[in-house]
C-alpha cells in the first residue's frame, strides 16, 4: 500500500496535469477504496502478483499458486477432468433456464419440449446444449478415468481420490439417466422402463430377483417401486426423476466434487510423478 494519507489528498488538478484525464481516472480508480477492496494486489506482471492472482481469487484458488512444469501438458491430463467439470457447470446453467419452461407432470412435460422448440427464443438450442453436453460429460468422464488409469495416477497417495472419482462416474450416469425420462417421449419412457426393470431382478430386493419372493417382495413394495413411486413408469416416476435430476443428485455430486478437488491438492496436485 503505497498511498499514504498525503498522497491520497493529492490535488486532482495536479494529477490531471501530470497524467492527463484518462490517466487520472485510471489512477484514482485503481487507488480507490472500492477497487482495493475487490482486488488486493497490483496488476504489474511479476512472479509475486502472478501468485497473488491465484491465491486472492476464490475461484482460481482451486489451483495452487504454482504447478509442476509438466502439469499443464496436454499429454498428461488430456484436459478430460477439467472439461468434465466445465460440462457440469454448463449443464447446471442450461438446467436453470430449462427449468423455467418445464413442468414435471404427465400432462405438460412433452408439450413443454414442443414449446421449447416452437415458442421459446433459442429454446431448442438450449435443450440441444443440455442434451449433447450431457452426452459429452459421460464420454469425458470415461476418458478421464481411462487417462488416470493409464498414467497410474490412482496409486498411493491418490487411492482414496480414485474411489471418489468412481462414485462421481456412477452419479454422472445416474444424472444422465434420470434426465432421459424428462422429455416424456417414447424414447425416454421406454429407456427408463427397460432400465428400471433391471431393479426388479435385484437379489433379495426385487420381486423377480433371486430370493425376492421369499423375502416378501411384490411389485408394490420392492426396490423398483421405491425408485418409480409406483409399479410402472408414470407421473410419480416423472416427478421423482425430475427431483433427483435437478436437486438431489446435483447436491450429492457437488459434495463429492468438493472432496475430489480438495484431495487432488492434498495428494500432490494434478498428474505427473510424485
Amino acid at each position: 500500500m503505497s498511498n499514504k494519507e498525503g498522497k491520497e489528498k493529492l490535488n486532482i488538478r495536479e494529477l490531471i496535469k501530470a497524467k492527463g484525464i484518462p490517466g487520472a481516472i485510471k489512477d484514482l480508480t485503481l487507488n480507490s477504496q472500492v477497487w482495493r477492496s475487490f482486488f488486493r494486489h497490483g496488476l504489474e506482471d511479476t512472479p509475486k502478483t502472478r501468485m497473488q492472482t491465484v491465491i486472492s481469487n476464490s475461484f482460481l484458488h482451486l489451483h495452487p499458486a504454482k504447478v509442476k512444469r509438466h502439469a499443464p501438458l496436454f499429454k498428461y491430463t488430456w484436459c478430460m477432468g477439467g472439461i468434465t467439470f466445465f460440462t457440469f457447470l454448463l449443464l447446471t446453467i442450461t438446467c436453470v433456464f430449462l427449468m423455467f419452461y418445464y413442468h414435471p407432470n404427465v400432462r405438460d412435460a412433452y408439450w413443454d419440449m414442443k414449446g421449447l422448440e416452437y415458442h421459446v427464443p433459442f429454446g431448442l438450442l438450449l435443450r440441444n446444449l443440455h442434451r449433447w453436453g450431457a452426452h459429452l460429460m459421460v464420454i469425458t468422464v470415461w476418458f478421464h478415468m481411462f487417462r488416470v488409469f493409464m498414467t497410474g495416477s490412482y496409486k498411493p497417495p491418490r487411492e482414496f481420490n480414485w474411489g471418489i472419482g468412481v462414485v462421481l462416474l456412477v452419479f454422472t450416469l445416474l444424472l444422465s439417466f434420470t434426465g432421459y425420462l424428462l422429455p416424456w417421449d417414447q424414447l425416454g419412457f421406454w429407456a427408463v422402463t427397460v432400465g428400471t426393470n433391471m431393479a426388479r431382478a435385484t437379489p433379495g430386493l426385487g420381486h423377480e430377483g433371486p430370493f425376492g419372493e421369499m423375502l416378501g417382495m411384490t411389485a408394490y413394495n420392492d426396490i423398483r417401486f421405491a425408485l418409480l413411486g409406483g409399479s410402472m413408469v408414470g407421473g410419480n416416476a416423472l416427478l421423482r426423476a425430475y427431483i433427483w435430476h435437478c436437486v438431489g443428485l446435483p447436491l450429492i455430486v457437488s459434495a463429492f466434487l468438493i472432496v475430489h478437488f480438495w484431495r487432488i491438492r492434498k495428494d500432490g496436485g494434478i498428474s505427473g510423478k510424485l
Binding site: P47, K48, M51, T53, V54, H63, A65, K66, V67, K68, R69, P72, C79, G82, I83, Y110, L124, R127, N128, L129, H130, R131, W132, G133, L136, W142, F149, T151, G152, S153, K155, P156, R158, E159, W162, G163, V166, L169, V170, S176, Y180, W184, D185, Q186, L187, G188, W190, A191, V194, M198, A201, P203, G206, E208, G209, P210, V233, G272, K273, L274
Partner: protein, 275 residues
C-alpha cells in the same frame, strides 16, 4: 512462550522465525526449475479448452437437434426398446445372462472392482507416467474390460441390435418379422441330465464352483511354486479379490462364446436363480 512486542505496525506474536529466502520470488529466474506459475500458464490453457469445448458444443447443438419422439404411450412398446446408449453394454449382457446378473450383479462388481484397483495394485511403478512394460497385467486387464467388454458391447448394442434384439448390420434394413429359430440348452442337458432336477442343479453348481476354485487356486499354486515375490507382497486377501474379480469378468466372454457356439442357455439352474 512466544514474545509479545510493540512495534510501529501494532502488536504481533512471533510464533516462529525461519531464516531463508522468501517464498514469493521477485524474479522469474528465481522460480524453481520444475514449477510453473498457475497464472498464466495453466489458467490460459483451461480457458482455451473451455472455448474449444464451447465451440464444439455450439456447432453440435446448431447442427443436430436433440431427439424427441412421439409422446410416451405405455401401451405402445417400441421394438427394440433400448436403454440410453451408455447402458447398452449392460443391456447387451442380457442376451447372455439373466437380469439379476447383467443388471445388478455385474454393475455392482464393476463399481466395486474399479474402487479396489488402487488397493490391490501394489505395483509401485508407473505412478504418474506412461509405461506399459512395468505394469502389463494391470493395463491389459483394464483395457480388456474397458474397451472390449464395455465400449465394444455398447457399440454392438447401439448399432447392431434391431427388432427382437436380433443382430442387424447398420446397412441392413430392420425386419421386425425376422425370426431366428434357435433352441438353447442348459449345460447338463448335453449329457442327458435334466437341468431342473436336483442332480442337474448340483452338477451345474459344482461346475460354477470348480470354475472359481480352479481359477483362484491354480495361479496361486503356480506362483507359489515359482516363489513369486509378487504373490508374497500381494498377500492372500488381495490375491483372492483380484482373482475373483478377474474370473468374474472373464465369465462374460466365456459365457458369450458358449452361448454363440454351443447354444448354451444356463450352466446352473436352481429354483431361485439361474446362471
Amino acid at each position: 512462550m512466544p514474545d509479545k512486542k510493540e512495534t510501529a505496525q501494532g502488536r504481533y506474536r512471533a510464533l516462529a522465525f525461519v531464516k531463508g529466502e522468501s517464498l514469493a520470488k521477485e524474479k522469474d529466474s528465481q522460480v524453481s526449475e520444475d514449477e510453473l506459475h498457475t497464472w498464466p500458464y495453466l489458467v490460459r490453457k483451461e480457458f482455451l479448452a473451455v472455448i474449444i469445448v464451447m465451440i464444439i458444443l455450439m456447432i453440435w447443438s446448431i447442427a443436430l437437434d436433440a431427439p424427441l419422439e412421439e409422446p410416451s404411450d405405455p401401451s405402445l412398446t417400441p421394438n427394440p426398446a433400448k436403454a440410453p446408449w451408455y447402458f447398452l453394454g449392460l443391456q447387451e449382457m442380457l442376451v447372455y445372462f439373466d437380469p439379476w446378473i447383467a443388471g445388478v450383479i455385474f454393475p455392482s462388481l464393476i463399481v466395486m472392482g474399479l474402487m479396489v484397483i488402487p488397493y490391490v495394485d501394489i505395483n509401485p511403478k508407473g505412478n504418474g507416467y506412461y509405461t506399459f512394460k512395468e505394469r502389463k497385467f494391470a493395463i491389459v486387464t483394464f483395457c480388456f474390460g474397458f474397451h472390449v467388454l464395455w465400449i465394444l458391447l455398447i457399440i454392438v448394442g447401439v448399432f447392431m441390435r434391431g427388432p427382437g434384439w436380433l443382430w442387424f448390420w447398420p446397412w441392413e434394413e430392420w425386419d421386425s418379422h425376422r425370426i431366428v429359430a434357435e433352441t438353447n440348452y442348459d449345460l447338463t442337458q448335453f449329457i442327458g441330465i435334466d437341468s431342473k432336477s436336483l442332480l442337474g442343479s448340483i452338477i451345474g453348481g459344482g461346475i460354477v464352483t470348480i470354475y472359481f476354485f480352479l481359477g483362484m487356486t491354480v495361479p496361486y499354486l503356480l506362483m507359489k511354486m515359482r516363489k513369486s515375490q509378487m504373490l508374497e507382497k500381494l498377500g492372500t486377501i488381495r490375491y483372492s479379490i483380484v482373482a475373483f474379480l478377474f474370473w468374474s469378468m472373464l465369465g462374460l466372454p466365456i459365457k458369450m462364446v458358449l452361448k454363440l457356439v454351443l447354444h448354451l442357455k444356463y450352466i446352473w439352474v436352481t429354483p431361485w436363480f439361474n446362471i
